[in-house]
Homo-oligomer: 153 residues x 2
């Protein structure tokens, strides 16, 4: 199930991660190949789902999203039904940018991006009214030191 990129594939992925707006010609030159082979490789990796969504990174602060919270959640409920509802809630809430189920005594971690602390409280109230949660700790980010979606290929 794992994909094993060769050297050229890996270089292509690095280039696309860094700047997906460049032309095929530029990418081909950067990886030391030419248009058609690069195009075929990209097409193959797209079809295989290795290359997914093409998107644009927006300046969250400039657009007024000034508060990021990491939310640590402990629950006492572990039935399938509770979990299904919890996951559906998280996926439906656009302010939840990341959600992970964890090993260990904290069960879930969320990354929540909102305009301000009040918006976080509204999210929090909505969440605990929809599903039973045993314990919540919110960590407020004061400064985003680093943020990337690039994999260290």
């Amino acid at each position: 199930m794992t994909f094993h990129p060769d050297d050229t594939d890996r270089k292509i992925l690095i280039e696309l991660q860094a700047d997906a707006s460049r032309s095929l010609d530029e990418i081909a030159r950067a990886v030391g190949s030419s248009k058609t082979p690069v195009w075929n490789r990209i097409k193959r990796m797209r079809a295989a789902g290795i290359i997914g969504q093409q998107t644009v990174i927006l300046d969250a602060e400039a657009l007024g999203f000034e508060a990021t919270f990491f939310v640590l959640i402990r629950t006492s409920e572990h039935e399938a039904d509770w979990q299904r509802k919890f996951l559906a809630t998280l996926r439906a809430r656009p302010e939840v940018q990341e959600a992970h189920r964890l090993a260990g005594d904290i069960d879930y971690i969320l990354k929540v991006r909102v305009r301000n602390a009040r918006a976080y409280d509204q999210f929090y109230q909505a969440l605990i009214s929809e599903v039973r949660i045993y314990n919540v700790t919110a960590l407020l980010s004061m400064e985003e030191i680093k943020s990337t979606v690039a994999l260290p290929l």
Copy 2:
């Protein structure tokens, strides 16, 4: 310093976040406008830094990045010098996808994406050998429930 997108700007940003590979014509149709005005708005927002990097989301699992850790860090050192070195280390390490300075008794949180637990340990050993850290808790992700970079515009 905050940018106030009008309705059309906001629609354009939503479309670009969802799929930046579509043509200007398609985006213009989706937001109920036409090519030139949409092009001018995108150009303006790019120049202002509202629209940043254009990138591609890769399938981390398929490429063999099977372990994600959230790392909670407490430190006793708060001098400018220590902090400068710590930040430089984080920024230099490609396995660190996110790093935030926090309010409260946990000082930093990192999101670290690696191939396996052993690679995490190598990162951890390198980190603590470069900077003094008082206390570290690593939370291991068992399941990525949700992951998006889109802002809830």
